[in-house]
Amino acid sequence: MAEKRPNARWFVIALPYLWLAVFFLLPFLIVFKISLSTPTLAQPPYVPSFNSLAEIWEKARQFTIDNYAFLASDSLYYSSYFSSLRIAAISTLLLLLIGYPFAYAMARAPRAIQPMLLMLVILPSWTSFLIRVYAWIGILKPEGLLSAFLIWLGVIDQPLRIMNTETAVFIGIVYAYLPFMVLPLYASLEKLDPTLLEAAADLGCPPWKAFWLITVPLSLPGIIAGSFLVFIPAVGEFVIPDLLGGSDTLMIGKTLWREFFGNRDWPVASAVAVVLLLLLVLPIVVYQHMQARQVEAAR
């Protein structure tokens, strides 16, 4: 009996790793393998393809890094990457500026209504993401609700030209990702002891200054968590730029989709995906590192 216990423990530890191996590492290796292949008119649309594991060594010399070289040679790709990072960064900043007051107000609201406010933040996520983004088309299009409302108010006399621009993409991302920014911010602001602000005031610090010296540093874990939580998926976002953005809104998700379904160039599409992953691994590692440090500090 005693000998079996270590096995059970190993099993528990191995389970998440097994999960990651089957559903993350294996697919990634397949994508990586395709990215080293050459496109061809066939089924599947690339060579080499293996019929058995034994063939891997045989055909390995057919692998090529041409696809990566191609990515580097065509400005479309790195401007797509750059544009994605830029849009994600600006969106993160906007989310922080909108989400912080949001979370602050929630954390300061009477205890009794906080669960309800929390519910209201989460509630929209219960409808389909796609439907919510479609709804924004109805709001933002020239003959849509927003323009009609502003014209009715007399603020503008011409319909707005927001639809199919980068502005629409920002609106979409900020709307869709707001809960992911607000929730971690709320979690860290809610823990903040209000006596600390009293202590700061008592020591001669006016409220606006106490906000920068006490509130912001102590909510930094929430700021970092929220920022990563929205930045990483925003970089790879496809649905929002595809539906709300114009043809001039470059984002790597769209480029990847076009390579894959438009050009049927699986190897280049795979190379795009691998590079995107590498781009995102860096901030993820930084995030993990910071989380580990926090856990350490909390001990």
Partner: protein, 383 residues
């Protein structure tokens, strides 16, 4: 010539007895209401410079609210608070010459000990050199030199308490407010810290206002104690006066142990008042100049340590002589506390100092005993 005093006194320090002295802090008919609840009720109180003043009372009596109004965290609903002659109305906490040591310490968790102490000094726009030397001075005063670079979560409870003290003292405030400052410490450390606080207060020559529910703490540290109940001051006096001359049953009962016997006034003459009580066979006598009408209800309060207890009857004619049965005994080492049941059923508390290691005729459970006290030992209370 020896003067009689109630408890120890700091010689030549009693500005509250000097009618020409101008108080540093003045609460003038201050009322504070939270919705329908009156936390502080039409309260008037003067506190003098360099005084160590204690606000004492049970939780919810309004003592913390009173302090928070002085710090500026609450505004009085009615009345006026002046500090050093200036009306504090509408002045935010960050512009008041008071500093508070919080009950929870409220140390900034993201700053080091040094950073916490320097925080208030930085707000005053002091130069780096001045700040550094003041921080150094405070670290030395509170014996925290070796912990300067630590964060609050790396300190023990006692060390955190000293950081909180150092931080609130760093700006040399006109008034230091201490909100239950020692509540989180264990008994031994608390007693040591009480003496330390008194030393620091005298050394720095500052005015301290302490809020506490611990009567022993208030008595130990304070020059004067204000006993509060339901938003009102019941008695403001030196610890000695509060203990020896309580002005009401509430104060007598709140401070230390006491026996209170209810009765009716039967006579008053020559500084003696006699009371007839259902609890005592004979009339009780108490030294008092009070002029109370015959037959009004009054109470005699007598401290356990001022009551004599013996197996033998006192000489005939001894005042306030009662008999009873030992109901219970608590041996505390330095003291033994006897609970004596009177024939009427009332239980009185009598304590005796154990001045010798052995006792010839020990008093035991169920013994018939005699107890008595001098007329001067009791206090006559009319409310």
């Amino acid at each position: 010539m020896a003067t009689r005093a109630l408890g120890p006194v700091r010689r030549s320090f009693a500005p509250w007895n000097d009618p020409t002295a101008v108080p540093l802090i003045r609460f003038d008919k201050v009322t504070k209401r939270f919705g329908g609840f009156t936390a502080v009720d039409d309260l008037t109180l003067d506190i003098h410079e360099r005084e160590f003043f204690a606000l004492l009372g049970p939780s919810g009596c309004g003592k913390t609210t009173l302090m928070r109004m002085l710090a500026g965290f609450e505004e009085p609903t009615e009345g006026r608070i002046t500090l050093g002659g200036e009306d504090m109305a509408g002045r935010p906490p960050y512009r008041r010459p008071t500093n508070m040591m919080f009950q929870s310490y409220a140390l900034f968790p993201h700053m080091t000990v040094e950073g916490n102490i320097a925080f208030g000094l930085k707000q005053d726009g002091m130069t780096k050199g001045e700040i550094a030397s003041r921080v150094e001075e405070m670290l030395k005063l509170t014996r925290l030199e070796s912990f300067a670079k630590r964060k609050p979560h790396q300190l023990s409870g006692g060390q955190r308490q000293r950081v909180a003290l150092a931080r609130s003292l760093a700006k040399k405030p006109k008034v230091l407010l201490l909100d239950e400052p020692l509540g989180a410490l264990d008994k031994k450390l608390r007693q040591d810290t009480q003496f330390e606080l008194m030393d620091i207060q005298v050394t720095l020559g500052l005015t301290f206002l302490i809020v506490t529910h611990d009567q022993e703490e208030a008595m130990t540290v304070a020059d004067r104690v204000a006993v509060m109940d339901k938003g009102k001051l019941i008695q403001v006096a030196t610890p000695g006066e509060i203990y020896e001359q309580p002005n009401s049953r509430y104060v007598a009962d709140f401070i230390g142990d006491i026996n209170i016997i209810e009765g009716r006034i039967t006579g008053a003459s020559g500084g003696r008042v006699t009371i007839g009580s259902a609890e005592a066979e004979a009339p009780l006598t108490v030294a008092s100049e009070a002029d109370l009408a015959k037959d009004t209800t009054a109470w005699i309060a007598v401290r356990p340590e001022k009551t004599r207890l013996s197996l033998d009857a006192p000489p005939a004619g001894t005042a306030n002589a009662l008999t009873g049965t030992i109901f219970d005994i608590a041996y505390l080492g330095d003291w033994t506390v006897y609970l004596v049941q009177l024939p009427g059923g009332k239980i009185l508390r009598v304590s005796q100092a154990n001045m010798t290691r052995t006792v010839e005729r020990p008093i035991s459970w169920d013994d018939k005993v005699h107890l008595w006290w001098a007329p001067e030992a009791g206090v006559l209370l009319s409310r």
